[in-house]
Symmetry: C2
Subunit: 368 residues, 2 copies
Amino acid sequence: MPKEPKPTINDVARLSGVSKKTVSRVINKSPLLNEATRKKVEAVIAELGYVPNPQARALALRRNFLIGLIHDNPNAQMVLGVQEGILETIRDTEFALVVRPVDRHSPALLDDIRHFIEQQRLFGVMLLPPISENDELADMCRALGCTVVRMGSAALDKSEHLVASNDRQAVADAVYWLSELGHKRIGFIAGPEGFRSARERELGFADGMARAGLPLDPAIMARGTYRFESGQAAGDKLLAATPRPTAIFSSNDEMAAGFLHRALGQGIRVPQDLSIIGFDNTATAAHIWPPLTTVQWPIKAMARAAASKLIDPADAASQPSIFLSDLIRRASAATCAGAHGTDAPAPATQDGHGPAETQPLTPVTKSR
Amino acid sequence: MPKEPKPTINDVARLSGVSKKTVSRVINKSPLLNEATRKKVEAVIAELGYVPNPQARALALRRNFLIGLIHDNPNAQMVLGVQEGILETIRDTEFALVVRPVDRHSPALLDDIRHFIEQQRLFGVMLLPPISENDELADMCRALGCTVVRMGSAALDKSEHLVASNDRQAVADAVYWLSELGHKRIGFIAGPEGFRSARERELGFADGMARAGLPLDPAIMARGTYRFESGQAAGDKLLAATPRPTAIFSSNDEMAAGFLHRALGQGIRVPQDLSIIGFDNTATAAHIWPPLTTVQWPIKAMARAAASKLIDPADAASQPSIFLSDLIRRASAATCAGAHGTDAPAPATQDGHGPAETQPLTPVTKSR
DNA sequence: TTGTACGCGTTATCAC
DNA sequence: GTGATAACGCGTACAA
């Protein structure tokens, strides 16, 4: 176990015949420095493989370089996408990403997070939905002296501290697209109450229906929990309605999958008899049968922007804070059979894994 | 932005009328301490909300409290499960978890990771498959002076530095179970060459077939990439074989899903005409139609054990290092139609989301 | 049982 | 431009 101590700034100073401070200036790229001495010092640094000790830096600067990712998110892909996005931004900086999965139902939630931030002396934290919707939490983090950036489905905060998707518009556009496909009876599966994302998607559904001149019928609307089973329950209700809906918008993919199970179990053909659209573009969406048309957040881009806002607050306001989602069109949604349109329904044998599937199609959403 | 400086050990010492060192003893739970002074100091600590600065501690102790999770893993759920497991173990310690997704195909992989470890002065790292199979990488980490624990599908390392599932046995048992269901023609989809997990699962398949007295037929075996599309390709090959296999073991769920698409596309009924078993128990497995019988790693337990080995090397050898997987039985595998068994195939309308599904059944694997 | 002096690796101050 | 010297917050010798 090679345990030879790592070279310090003193070693570099001694070997290059300058003072510690000069080495420090080289490291921090001070502008007022003789080019010759800089070169000399840099040579010694390279030779020794010297790397500044971040703990000592943090101590002297009274400032840390850890950013925390706090989440309680059921969507593993999203969390991982965020981690990758953040990493891309901080890759060549001295920042590191420390993660903290939490349980939003724990009564000790706030205390846990407070302890986490205080103990690690975090520079900043990034909050993922749904806990990003918790204003009390965000305030507490700020009171602890760390910058906060929240990721969400709507304008939860000032733009310097926010990165959000416009779920409302994305859903409205998707629903309107269904109407363009000839669907007139469009059902809806809402997410759980208390989730901002669920509420935005509901509003978007109403917007889209209104734009299409279609009425909202409570008989073909249900509230779920974002879980698979609740999608099945919604299937029990909505598929029994008369007349049956010809299309369904589900507030997430998991419920859409549950709903689809029920539909297939009743011998309903998708998309010939019924179109389904989900939300999230989870791995499941691409792998179920038929492949699910769904709305996708530009997660990595959002995470990159969020990380920028975190590590460079001065630049935060200039970074975009609202992102538009793409509709990933797969086989689960097609022209309404009863409509007068000329498009044939997507063939049931289409796997939806051609080139049109692996790269998102033209977004339904538009800049405004 | 409340920016009042946090209380330091000096503040505590002053207010409680003792020296720094005494406070330090309280923090570190030194046994030789007057109970009265301890109580007094603890009161002041609580009152001030004092939290020791980990950076200063790290500096003084010449030892850090960051553990790194390095991974390049396509299975988001597994990565997140590991993160949660690690967190459960380090929750009440001063350790923090810093994550580093990497690209195993990058030529700079080793340099990237070296830089990461040196820059953050990591205490230890945890390697996830498939990069945990890279001996050169593990050696480099150790040369950098940080302890390494690897997670994998087989005995990659000494037990102090390893947490592994016994994929070979799990697959063998699952395949043997298929034979007990009456299947005699069992196909196999292998994972990509160069993956240790893929190799172990292949060996397990061969073991299981041998135990069942069944021959290996290359006509119903295919090699995939662990990706969905390769499962479809395997479907094209294996479903064209004569006679057609009555059961398939796929080395992961994603390929199983691709295979299933092809089977359903050809009008083959699952499980009546064909049984399918996957590996990983991803979210997809539970959500596709029919729900997929699959092998599941006890990921959280493994991650907890791995974290223990990391932060307490003295205790490492006593922790278990080989974990047994569970077979999650769902609707996709059933009695072979042509067999003489009395069990009826699972009804096609079963959603597989009853109680028997949400909690794993009795494991097929046994302690040895 | 408790306190003093010093070191850990770095940056900031303020001379030169 | 560059270099002594003092922080930063905490732990360890060693003395009391």
